[in-house]
Symmetry: C2
Subunit: 211 residues, 2 copies
């Protein structure tokens, strides 16, 4: 079950901490203070200390945080100490972009199959994965344990795909279609609403310009 003691807001900050720590690891930086982390993350030092205290407080006064250890522990908390098998439905530009992204940037997240309804896409290979006819999705999910279903279809097809993913017992759905879909109980839904992001950008641009 979900750990209710930790708020979603904290959870949503963890990937950012981890991303920044990853860069510090790559630069061979061994330790970091909450003040330095503040400068890098944009969160306040007290917010950072409070966030990290949620997980047992990895910092030491006068020393700060051990970068490698904090990076590893946040990865463990996020559930990144295991592999996730993923299936993409919708293999147009967006689906192919997500496949490339996962393949080149996301170790531990593995695309195992891709599906589309478009005869022009069925049969082509994307990073060695052959695009299959969408009608075989159900069978594939019945025969393979898949953690994450990724929706890269148009708005109108998204709910149908979500239903198939629900019936096929995926654990989570990563939705890129600009649609508010419903998923079965116990299935985690993560929407990437590009529209919300772009509209927020428009807000800040137009409010910067106004005197």
């Amino acid at each position: 079950m979900r750990d209710n003691r930790i708020s979603n807001a904290v959870i949503r900050r963890l990937p950012r901490y981890r991303r920044i720590l990853e860069e510090l690891v790559a630069k061979d930086i061994e330790r970091i203070s909450s003040n330095e982390l503040s400068a890098l993350t944009g969160y306040t030092a007290s917010q950072i200390r409070q966030d990290l205290n949620n997980f047992g407080g990895f910092g030491q006064q006068g020393y700060g945080y051990n970068v490698q250890s904090l990076f590893t522990q946040i990865g463990l908390i996020l559930g990144l100490d295991r592999d996730y098998r993923m299936v993409i439905v919708g293999c147009g530009n967006l689906g192919q972009a997500i496949a490339n992204y996962a393949t080149y940037y996301k170790r531990g997240f593995r695309i195992t199959a891709m599906f589309d309804v478009n005869p022009k896409l069925i049969g082509i290979k994307i990073n060695d994965i052959e695009v299959q006819d969408y009608e075989f999705l159900e069978k594939y999910l019945a025969e393979n344990e898949i953690e994450i279903g990724i929706i890269c279809t148009t708005k109108n097809s998204a709910q149908d795909v979500a239903n198939k993913f629900t019936e096929g017992n995926v654990k989570g759905i990563w939705n890129f279609a600009p649609a508010d879909i419903e998923v079965g109980e116990g299935i985690v839904l993560e929407n990437v609403h590009l529209s919300d992001s772009l509209n927020t950008l428009a807000y800040f641009i137009s409010h910067q310009e106004r005197p």
Copy 2:
């Protein structure tokens, strides 16, 4: 200048309200209560009333909110009563996906030019826009007023593109590259960190599974 009375958290909820109201408008639904909006948005009714009060309180007790009016007013607040000219750098699958998305789903956000360094992409047309050589970006930005620069390059090229956008006086940058980039003062930066979204999904999946 940015209106500091309204918190960023509220601003980030507005696109979601607007998206849901847009669907209600399409279904010819005329009015809605904060309780009904709560069921559709997942925010509490009191949160919704509080959020919308920030903008002068469009609701009326016993009537609720006029859907069309609320939709229009949120659009005005978000700065959607005008056009935004956008330029994409990086025209691989991701850049093409964003171009299609903007063209088909986002009225008011217009791609005016696309750039890449790859000779295989330079010269091809994407929705009637010909991909230009990246070396012409500087000149293009000097000759055209562009509000939004979109970065769809690899991680390593992102900062260089951001610098060119900064020098070219874009108002905002929409960054899809998995990199923490720096932008000039007064320029709005909106990152789409797919990694953060996927890692959050992994967290909730792994914590659902643990007893």
